[in-house]
Amino acid sequence: MALDGVDVAVAEGETVGVIGPNGSGKTTLFNALTGLYAPAGGEIVFRGRRLAGLEAHAIARLGIARTFQASRLCLDLSVFDNILIGMHAGRRTGLVDFVVRRRRFLGEIRAALERASHLLALFNRDLPSRGFERVGQLPQIDRRRVEICRALAAAPTLLLLDEPSAGMNPEETAELMRDLRIVREEMPGLSVVIIEHDMFVIEGVSQRVVAFNYGRKIAEGSFAAVAAHGEVRAAYLGTEAVGA
């Protein structure tokens, strides 16, 4: 799916909701932002740096973290390992420390494990004690939390959440919203862009909403304004329904 003339700006500490029908280019926007897709043209500027052409790992190191619509956790690895990988880019120890100056490495990893425990405890107080279990043994809602923790572990300045409520029942979605509010309180300077189909979530967490259709931005503004926008209603409900 191609994007065409999308112009989205996100301010520091702001939460922007992205809505639009399936195939309207929401995830494509994330993939272009994180360097998984190379844009054919246009510009992505992040804190004064151009991102187009950079590799995904380089972009991640600049402070952009994301989650995925379909979970991308390593189910065979421990809960802690899945979060620690988020801190991998910020490591200060190298091969020599791993093998010979082991203490230096162990000191660093102990601090990292503590941070991972702290992040897990924000969402679920029982999770830190399960840190050395394999992620595959956790229930779905906790896996989603681990994925958010992995993204937060990198101490990003921009967090991209790709439909975090996908596959959740209403109770789980309510818990997710609580989790997102915790993120908001704990990291006030963090900018968040969230893709969602659940309008309840979008209304609850975002300060500004952007609507997509066919790879174009069709509306932008407060949730109420965008929800009332004619083109948005047409995109979701069909032109006939809106006209009637």
Partner: protein, 377 residues
């Protein structure tokens, strides 16, 4: 607590004694008895939950003692096998497979970089030693230290473009590489062609020649015991290094890129660099195994490094446990001596070997000693 200690020592000593009995058993009935006793001990642990939990707890609490006891028994092995230089040599070979297996496990098990050219990289180490000693006149120990770097350099130069591809291209290219290596070694003049390189001088360290028969605790051992101890030091150091690398940021990054490359990239892991690092470190230890092999055996030739040996190396990992460092040790210690023990089965033992691997993949795909969660100790 001291009960735990006793349990650890008794368990390890019992396994050691039964394995030695099995190795030295001359007659089929004696071999059967030793094998039966081992199987019975295994069954007892498997189906006696009380004993099982007691053993598990003892080994968990007394990790240091368990390791120390293992080291003592490994040091004592040549004493137990002193009547048989042949079995001392087989044990040495098993230790070389531990070294090679650990290197290969970093590539295949930890990073998911499927390298089926293990034999060729071991061959690069071995041939380098042969050429450096016989043709260039270097001392053996220096050649053993330099040989592995040849494997690293050739691997890095030839495989950089392929490491960037996804899927099974690398596996296919490495298969091709083993055959190319063999054809080259068979046909190049300076590597001795099919004859290989003969008369590689033995190791001399600090004036001690490895062909003298060592005396340990008043007992004279076969000269092969020297090489056993050298291989033990090499395998021990290799395992130590690779365990620490596995339980580090590197092991974590490699596991992540193996399981989900996109998640790894979006977490800031430079995938191509990680794969190249794993490939190079792995090739170093595979080359080291080949280099030590060359000075032990005293000659290298193309059939020592053909594709079949790549498959044996792969089987060590599959049977022991993919990404499992103790698993590699177990796999090598089972897979190298057992086929020797069953030589009387002639051709059928290859059949047996195939059956064992199929059964493993069906019923214990994670291996005999599956990889545990990283604990950062």
């Amino acid at each position: 607590m001291s009960r735990d200690l006793a349990l650890v020592w008794v368990a390890e000593a019992a396994v050691f004694a039964l394995v030695i009995a099995g190795i030295l058993a001359e007659r089929p009935w004696a071999l059967g008895a030793a094998g039966g006793a081992l199987a019975a001990a295994g069954a007892l642990v498997r189906w006696a939950p009380g004993l099982r939990t007691a053993l598990a707890r003892a080994f968990a609490r007394r990790r240091g003692a368990a390791l120390g006891c293992g080291v003592v028994l490994a040091l004592a092995l040549p004493l137990a096998l002193r009547s048989s230089p042949y079995w001392t040599f087989v044990a040495t070979l098993a230790l070389l497979y531990v070294t090679i297996g650990q290197g290969l496990n970093l590539q295949i098990g930890t990073a998911g970089v499927i390298n089926l050219a293990g034999a060729a990289f071991a061959g690069l180490g071995g041939y380098s030693v042969g050429l450096l000693t016989v043709a260039a006149g270097w001392p053996s120990w220096l050649a053993v230290l330099v040989g592995p770097w040849v494997a690293v350099a050739v691997g890095a130069i030839l495989f950089v473009p392929i490491l960037k591809t996804r899927g099974h291209y690398l596996a296919l290219v490495t298969i091709a590489f083993v055959f190319i290596f063999n054809i080259l070694m068979n046909n190049l003049e300076f590597t001795g062609g099919p004859q290989g390189i003969k008369n590689i001088p033995t190791l001399h360290l600090f004036g001690y020649a490895f062909t003298t028969r060592p005396v340990l605790a008043g007992v004279e051992l076969p000269a092969h015991a020297n090489f056993y101890y050298a291989a033990l030091v090499v395998a021990g150091l290799t395992t130590w290094v690779l365990r620490r690398l596995h339980d580090s940021w590197l092991g974590l990054a490699l596991n992540t890129l193996r399981d989900d490359e996109i998640a790894a990239r979006c977490s800031g892991v430079a995938v191509a660099r990680g794969k190249l690092l794993a490939f190079s470190i792995g090739n170093f230890f595979i080359g080291l195994g080949g280099a030590v092999y060359a000075v032990i055996v005293g000659f290298v030739s193309p059939p020592d490094f053909d594709f079949g040996y790549s498959l044996v190396m792969l089987s060590v990992i599959i049977i022991g446990g993919v990404d499992s460092i103790p698993g590699v040790i177990l796999g090598a210690c089972l897979l190298v001596p057992l086929p020797e023990r069953f030589r009387f089965l002639h051709e059928y033992r290859l059949l047996l070997y195939g059956v064992v691997i199929v059964v493993m993949l069906l019923y214990r795909p994670r291996g005999l000693w599956p990889a545990q969660v990283r604990r950062y100790r």
